[in-house]
Symmetry: C2
Subunit: 735 residues, 2 copies
């Protein structure tokens, strides 16, 4: 980082570097141990750091602050260029996964008898995408739509032959041959997939389907990649055979010729246009005017049509609807990890700024922001949030891959499928509650931390603006957060009413342990009364379990009195949040108490416990309205236990805040925000980036559109300019 300044630096007033270096030296936490703890294993930690540094050095993929100068058109094209670069990594990463640098992975994957591509094959590349989310989320989406939405839709709903054909033979999984998009959402139906209107009518005479958009609101809408880059779409459409509606199934529909990118006849496509964020994604809308596709393009794992007179239709709606979601599930699980990653970036920026920035207090020696308890309250719990997202996202990843691997392994085997279904339901609850809660919390994190950086947080070059705009769509897509919270809350309520009757969970996981009948029993007998004193470490996650049970019991009571299930929606949204807090605190607790915590240093362990406590206490305070109303806590406990703990934990964590964010080990290229670079030279770094993007003016420089301004100011004004003091005097003096 070169640094220049146009003004005298002999007596600088502010020395942010000094403060940050001092804070760094004063904390003895072991950042490598922490990194391993957060990533779940030494192997993962090593891989993440290697890959991150490799990417940070790739100037094709990672831009500097000029990234923030893109407009919609340049952003779309720049992202497409990066996509080509990324396709190279895809092939490289699959090779590496198969056996470090296997020579002919294409030949092997594309052979007629090739085994199906697995999640293990993709594991390195998925990690790469995960990391690139920090740097350029629109790029990740653009590849993700192809590989994970189109790709997983085919994997979840297609036969082995179809998977092999589309992903391997045709090349999609290698980022070549064709480019997929995922045409589920319509203008009029987003969350409500079952009522999608697009029609796929089977035509026995030609053994084909005719795809039709019957109505304006049935226009496929928001389809990522459709405007420019997709050659094929997985289309969600109603299967109509001999006039009968078999519900929503999935079809592959070619849109453009991959050799020329020319649009095929009978298809109308438009650009969705400008968006709040992620303009690098070419979202589009699609209308089908009787587009014909062969029968083989119906994804046929659960739905088969046998030609004949009449044609025979076999379908399994239960499996179809559960598996129809797998493509979305990968997105939801991914977003929890992305919350962890993106949160790291902004927590690092704001923490460095908070330590380096001075405000008020003694002139010449102003107080560091971080020394104000109010500022600690704004910044430090956000670091804790990021930490608590670590172990839970590792666990969710494992749950996801275990479940979908069984799903893929089950093939079309109905018997094996049945046992997968229960696991899928658990995964649904866990991923929905965590996706909604984590993406909301990180939206709040970005917003709060931007404000904590004052005016400088509003500069595009410090990343918060684009970061926020790109982020918040996560609260809406692949399951609207309110809808997801509500449905997962409903599922939890259902399990609760069963558990209260003594029924055990079919697919128990640690984060649902509070729904075990014996746990509810324990609470009822008062065995958990001590939890709210927060006297042991486990109390900090247990309190969420206790709150959940009380909340669920309360909700059941309200529903009984109102006789309207909708009357408890607001409570169920909170239940989903509490469930997420429980999963987060419990995962962290279990990881830190396990033999594989990878934390050997006691001082570091001690700080991690403080972070864990801070998270829990902060959210107890935030949700104290609910906790007090449910009588989990008393008002006196709030003022005598929670509030003082919060205040003292902030003080204790403050000492380590620079090291705690250093532990994420994000290279400056990933930070891409000059007020948050590692060296802490906030003002010089910031000034450099601003002047790099807009060179300075000196006399007699003239701004753009100056004529517009001179004519505004010089318009018939009828006043005398000759009075003193005036410009004339000024000119004399400065000659």
């Amino acid at each position: 980082m070169t640094r220049t300044t146009t003004v005298d630096q002999s007596k600088p007033v502010f020395l942010p570097k000094k403060f940050i270096e001092k804070a760094r030296s004063k904390s003895n936490v072991q950042i490598n141990e922490i990194h391993t703890f957060l990533e779940g294993s030494p192997e993962q930690s090593k891989l993440i750091l290697e890959m991150m540094n490799e990417l940070a050095g790739d100037s094709y993929l990672v831009e500097g602050t000029e990234y923030y100068e893109h407009n919609k058109a340049t952003s779309r094209e720049a992202t497409a260029k990066k996509l080509a670069r990324l396709a190279g990594y895809l092939e490289h990463d699959i090779k590496r996964a198969r056996d470090e640098f296997h020579r002919d992975v294409r030949g092997e994957l594309q052979a007629a008898d090739a085994p199906l591509i697995t999640n293990k094959d993709l594991s390195f590349f998925l990690k790469r995408l995960d990391l690139l989310t920090i740097v350029d989320p629109q790029l990740v989406t653009r590849m993700g739509v192809n590989l994970l939405l189109f790709g997983n839709c085919v994997r979840g709903n297609g036969t082995d032959e179809q998977i092999r054909y589309w992903l391997q033979e045709r090349g999609l999984a290698l980022g070549t041959g064709l480019f997929g998009c995922f045409a589920m959402t319509e203008m009029g139906h987003g969350s409500n997939v079952a009522n999608i209107q697009t029609l796929a009518t089977y035509e026995p005479a030609t053994d084909t389907f005719k795809i039709t958009t019957p109505d304006l609101v049935a226009t496929k809408w928001w389809i990522g990649g459709a405007a420019h880059s997709a050659t094929h779409a997985t289309v969600y459409a109603r299967l109509i055979v001999e006039g009968k509606d078999y519900g929503v199934k999935t079809f592959v529909v070619p849109l453009r010729d991959p050799e020329t990118m020319e649009l095929f006849p009978t298809i109308t496509i438009g650009d969705i246009g400008a968006k709040m964020g992620r303009d690098g994604i070419d979202n589009g809308w699609i209308q089908f005017h009787g587009t014909v596709i062969p029968r083989e393009y119906l994804l046929s794992r659960f739905t088969k049509i046998t030609p004949g007179n009449p044609p025979r239709v076999e379908t399994n709606n239960t499996f179809e609807s559960v598996c129809g979601y797998t493509a979305l599930l990968s997105g939801r699980v991914g977003m929890v990890k992305e919350s962890f990653r993106v949160g790291q970036r902004f927590a690092t920026i704001a923490t460095r700024y908070a330590v380096g920035r001075q405000q008020f207090g003694e002139r010449g020696n102003e107080t560091q922001l971080i020394d104000y308890p109010l500022h600690q309250y704004r910044v430090l719990p956000q670091i804790a949030l990021v930490y608590l997202l670590g172990p839970v996202s590792v666990n969710l990843d494992k749950l996801y891959f275990n479940t979908v691997n069984s799903l893929y392994a089950a093939g079309s085997d109905i018997k094996k499928m049945q046992s997968v279904i229960d696991g899928m339901k658990t995964l649904f609850i866990e991923s929905a509650a965590l996706k909604a809660t984590a993406t909301w919390l990180v939206a709040g994190l970005i917003d709060e931390l931007r404000q904590s950086c004052g005016g400088h947080g509003y500069s595009s070059y410090n990343g918060f603006g684009k970061g926020y705009n790109d982020w918040v769509v996560q609260c809406t897509w692949e399951g609207d957060n309110n809808v997801l919270s509500l449905t997962s809350g409903k599922s939890i309520l259902k399990l609760f009413t069963e558990a209260a009757k003594g029924r055990k969970l079919k697919a128990p996981i640690s984060s649902l342990s509070y729904l075990a009948p014996e746990y509810i029993q324990k609470l009822n007998t008062g065995a958990l009364n001590n939890v709210t004193s927060l006297s042991t470490l486990s109390d900090y996650h247990e309190i969420w379990a206790v709150s959940l049970i009380k909340y669920l019991a309360f909700s059941v009571g309200v529903m009984k009195s109102t006789r309207n299930p909708d009357s408890i929606s607001k409570y169920l949204v909170s239940v989903a949040k509490f469930h997420a807090f429980h999963s987060m605190t419990k995962s962290f607790y279990e990881q830190l108490t396990s033999d594989n915590s990878y934390i050997k240093d006691e001082a570091t362990r001690d700080v991690l416990w403080k972070v864990y406590k801070l998270f829990s206490v902060y959210f107890i305070d935030k949700f104290s309205g609910e906790l007090l109303q449910l009588k989990v806590l008393t008002p006196d406990q709030m003022s005598s236990i929670i509030q003082p703990q919060l205040l003292s934990l902030l003080q204790e964590v403050k000492v380590h805040c620079i090291k705690l964010t250093d532990a994420f080990q994000l290279p400056d290229a990933f930070i891409n925000a000059p007020i948050g670079y590692y060296d802490g030279d906030i003002y010089h770094n910031y000034f450099n980036e601003v002047t790099k993007n807009a060179p300075k003016d000196v006399a007699p420089g003239v701004p753009p559109y100056a004529n517009l301004l001179t004519s505004l100011l010089g318009r018939d004004s009828g006043f005398e300019r000759s009075g003193a003091p005036s410009e004339q005097l000024f000119r004399r003096l400065t000659k």
Copy 2:
């Protein structure tokens, strides 16, 4: 509004128009009475509606959805063009204010003996700016820095002669001659104005000041208008005379020649560059390298230098520091009104969408979003928020103008000034608490309502994205919300400790009535115990007064035990919020119970009371953690009174929601979001705007940068394309 569609409309599935028309016809509230109530008088209501419709028809000022396609450069230039248009309105509006269409207002204002320009002269134009905030806030800011920041800085700190010279003779107040910017903030000092570093050193030999930027962090930063349009700046700098530092004073410094826009020597200016929002404002940074200005350019109302050996300095730091803020106060007061205006826009959009949009439920007859209690909970309290911002902003306006008019009238008269100071302190509390709370709440409103519109809320064309990005800087500038909340909370705490000792307020206003010693007495004797039952209408504002007293008493207790004033910062921020809730509910209550409520229709009055209750109950629930901890309410009251009331008020307000937002009477041009237009034809309007901005493609259309994509997909792929089913088959079938 013309409408086209490319698909069959004979059997549309969704009929949003029908639902919105039905909702409109089912409510009998009188929207004109409401408009008068919210604006404070029939004259204001009439003026607002006339001016709004006049502006809506001005295609120079008001763009359609193409507004959302601007990039930084085009946005800057387009805003400058609008600025010229706006200058015409400025002159027109001053004429109108002086006496409908006074013939020669320039001659009159610019005469040597002209009376000083008054706030009454500007009253029509200020209303116009207020309305334009809904449409194009960056334009308003760009004019605002000139007229209200530069202008009011001169009016607050300058002598009559200086005010007459800069605003009248030179033409600034007429939008001609020169263009001002407000150079207060530096890179290193925003909120902490007292420690600003820029130096203004008096040079006796030439009777001039030398303005110097001593350090990189002393660079004037974020200065709106500095990058391109400003010819002059009011510069906040330390006055140094004979080596002595007299603290921060204000100076007018010429930057560019208004006839050519050429930058003057010794000044370096740069563009701040890209921002999260408001790219139409040309924010810049400025460094002074010994810029010389005449002594007369020191704004000398409270600080005078008499040349001589040694030169004599007279200054009044108390008045200077209080009045130095008047320029900012107008901004803060303005932001409360802007919260009311901008809130109207988004509340209207989201309410129409909530009524017109259907989701889930019976196929072919899906449920309207607004029929879900959860959706009601998300949308309707936001309408209530906007309503509650009405009367309070009218009151705050009055308080502001009364106070600053006395200030301007006081001139340099020290005796008169003293009595103004107390009023200024009250105004500070009221404007700071309301500015911070209102701008935060409206940031939350935009965010929540965007999410309530699902994916369509993320489209730029529906306004939320740019609306949010433009809005949130309001939480930071002209007083950071946390700093403002904290300082107003501290002032309230100080008044409380005095009131507890029996001392009366010096400048009592209705919203501070809870700080009267007799009120605190009343609470202590239990005379206010019934308030929390919410059995009378006044209880809904009184509960906030009771909560405030309890919160303040609690804070005093904590401070006593920690002996650290910073330990209660978090509570004081909440105190400022509670104060704002109290002001909002009390203003509304007083307006609706007064003889001048302008509500004659009983049914309408009844609905307004429901809106008022909903606001209060919603925030009681939101802040129930605090209210329960402070024992204002018991847990049982929360579940037996507050929660059921919230649920039933939502149901009751729902019936009127379309009319309640119709009552704002915003023209579609002000809405500028097709999912929120008056006719409710959501999908056609939306589709029209999308296709207007990005024409559709049909076969064999090719997307931009297609070669980039074909080379990506066609790169050496080594797989066989001839297998069926394939593109070849597809082509045969579609021939």
